[in-house]
Amino acid sequence: MPSESPFPSEITGLLHRWKDGDREALASLASVAYKDLRAIAAGYLRREGAGHTLQATGLVNELYLRLAQVRRVELIDRGHFFAFAAQLMRMVLIDHARRARAQKRPAAGFRVPLHEEMAWVDASNDDMLALDTALTQLEALDGRKVRVIELRYFLGCTNDEAAGLLGVSRATVDRDLDFSKAWLHHRMLGLSGAPAPDR
């Protein structure tokens, strides 16, 4: 069960600011309300899960359980809410990766692919930092593509759900994904210095 929950109005205020474009609010919200979420993330990403993607670890579920309280309090629409959850998820993973690096911990020993369709990204390590940078760059070019990626691969929506939440067609989502994956993959190669793939 969620440990300490701050007053709903505090969360509400932060949610509103985030909605209005204040990205800092997201960070504040994560740190204020969900300190233990990071610990949980660490636990899940250490678990014996060879072959399991992030989705199967149930981390997303934990996130949701905590946010569920918030949603009931604040009349925020679905689209915004899930976009928020996805971004929060992304933050939690980035944070975990940063700490692991700072503490010079060895890699977990096994991979936790972010998602079947983004299997080249290991959610438990530095890959996440490279991905985050790449996503930030992509955001400058087209924010919607980043939202699609977050909803699909951080939160685990289906393509149709993502289309519904973002108010676009399914075909648009499919195209966004095809392009974004290639773009991110390309960017991440550059960032991580890995050898170029065979043509």
Partner: protein
Amino acid sequence: MTPIERIESLFHQARALPAGVERRQWVDEQCGNDRETAAQLLALLDSDQAISHLPGPVAAAEPPVPTAQFGAYRAVELLGRGGMSAVYKARRSDGRFEQTVALKIMAGYLAGPEFLRRFELERQLLATLSHNHITRLLDGGVSSAGDPYLITEYVEGRTIDQYCDEEKLDVAARLRLFLQVCEAVDHAHRNRIVHLDLKPANILVDSEGSVKLLDFGTAALAAPGKSSLTAVGLLTPRYASPEQLRGQPVGAATDVFSLGVVLYEMVTGAWPFGDPASALSELCRAVGDAPVRPPTGVVTAEAARSRSTPVDRLRHMLRGDLSAILIKALEDDATRRYESVTRFAADVRHFLEHRPVSARRQTAWYRARKFHRRHRVAVTAAALLFLFVAASAAFLYQVRLRNEEQERHAAGLSKIVTQASLMITEHIQKSQLELAREEELSLRESLEQEQRDNPDNPLIWNLLGSAYMQLGQLEWFRYGPSFMDRDRALDSYGRARAFFEKMERRHAAGALDQSVAARMYESEMLIETGRGWEAFREVVQLLRDDEAALPSRDSRSFGSVGNLASYYDMLSDRLGGNMAWPEEDADAPGWRRALAALQPSRMTNSIAMTLYRAVLTPPAGAGPEAIPERGGAIVRLQLGRLQLQVGMREAGWQSLREALRAFSVAAATTHDSGYVLDHLAGAHIQLSRAAEAEGKFAEALREREQAMACLDKLAAPQPRSLYQKERVGGLRLASARLLNRLGRRAEALREGQAGLRDLRENAAQPRAAALTLDLAAQRLLTAEPLQLRDPAQAREYARRAVDQTAATMPPYLVTLAFAELAMGHQEAARQTARSAVEGYRKVGEILKPLFDSSRYPEAASLYREWRKQLEQLPDLH
């Protein structure tokens, strides 16, 4: 095209070409001298290739079959892997007997001393389970390697879903099979063992068609007290109950739920909560955000084939009883499901035997249970009427209570009525109309019974009166979910009135307020059922009765006068006072201009204003604190609107601003936000009108946008009610008009079209209110920009409104006349206009007693002016 859009476009096109030379050549052609773009494009295509050639997620290499000894058994062959365990076929290895068993080895890391202790206890318990349809536990322990294991009977068979589909069993056969499953689970429950992981994979069917359940109790074993079983990866969320997803206490009801999911799939071939592939559904379910999909809507032709039944017949079977059974088993709230598997099975059996099913007779009537306030009925503006009534009447009740027991009975009764109402509302919102009807009938029966039991108790009359008022609102209410059944509503309001009148005769304080309110609602129904003249007469009567009683009401005069003022306001509406017909071109017939300028509600507006002002004046000796905060704000809103209408600019603006301030404060501090948001929206709308009248279009548009924001917030947890859609539609059209004036034509068109869509959707409802139709017609005639107008459809709607009200509502006749004129049917329009004028004359006569010059001199003189104007309408004679 921006650079990225170009790259994107090229990317998708290039992808469609086969990789290799052809593609590279195409890229070269497209990019020409732009080497940078070409390089980028090729790099992206490379990545795309690389991604599609990546190996899939590394499948866990299958561990070799363990060689350790597990009791007297040795593993032979892997049968399957679960979240934290693996199951093997095993053989007895001590040479004594030949026996094949199933060996389940659980993940080593689970084995701590705590776990082993529980394991032992559970094993003892499980060993006592002995039933035909449950695989017996034979042995268990911890292997030499430290892995806990269980040995059970080995069963050759298919999982129940496989079996049913491969054998193409029909619904009845599937249900019978399901009953076997219930038998087994019920047996376990009686032995205090819950399964907690029921799913098709755990339900096998052997070659003789007999069911065998696997894996009892192991879910509980593995993770008691974990925050959420799915989080630990032990549970398949697909069949998990809401309490399991939330990490809340589990019990027999949990198994009922999982069985419900299994049955739903067996019968329909679909998952009750949408797309099983979606991770989001699990999350939504955890919050209670995922309603059960109606079974009739999810069957496909393929599913029907596996059930050896034609699609239509399958859908038909799923209606009614079977749906009700499934819904009851799948209730989000564990206390509302079947209490036990026995009852679940009983209902299924009854269904098979064509006997009545308890799930449908289920009512909240005799259940005194805590009712979760998750599904609050959205409070809307028309409940404003009741703001005053509720505040002033029910609690002023001065009947001496005979004893405490009576009071308790009454309290229980009123709680039950509320529960039933909320359930009916829920059913209506989920489009479960048959269930809603059942509840409604049941509630009616109970109310009638109560009346028979307690014929002479004013306390009960009060409750029954209020109950019928609530029922009436569920049966027909423009402002919220309802059955749209006018006749029933009329009946309910009539009964409510009868009770309140009985109370009046006993001189119960507050009874008058309630009976007047009931009569007001009744009169609305009279209009909608074509008895308009009667309605107007009724309104005159009730207004006079209400006013006559005014001096005798003392302490709650705020509420009483406020109510009276709002009734006059409602009367203004019915006279057609709220619509402003814009100026038309010079060659429109004279009568058109005259009718448009008629202002039929000027008299009633005058009285309403007088009363609203009186409301805002504190009684003698009291200060401004005597005016309730919120009620005062609402009154200021209405007063402001009226003041602006008659041109009192300063006063009007001030009233509106004060109202806005009060509402904004309330919005920030109150939890009853729905109610306040609604009024806040209203305040912004009035301010917008005021600004528009002064030509301040930009400001007017801003106010409209604010109003829209409030309405958006209001709609969020539930689908929009008809009334809210009407408001949103009106808002959009007003914004369209303003955008047009500001020269933003494209946006104006878009907004206008969206607004008209809202109104058309409302009007398209088969039992749309006449008022709704008339409003839609008016908007279709007066929309801006001009290309949004649709006189033909306006005429259709206006016609329907007139027909529904049997031509007794003059303002609807006016709308119809204008529509016919817009279509070019001059003569028909003139005829209709004549009828409208006739109607107004008749209504004018009926209303005359209200405009008594001794009490309301201004209104009286306005009335005389109005009658004169009516007589002098040009070209209609």
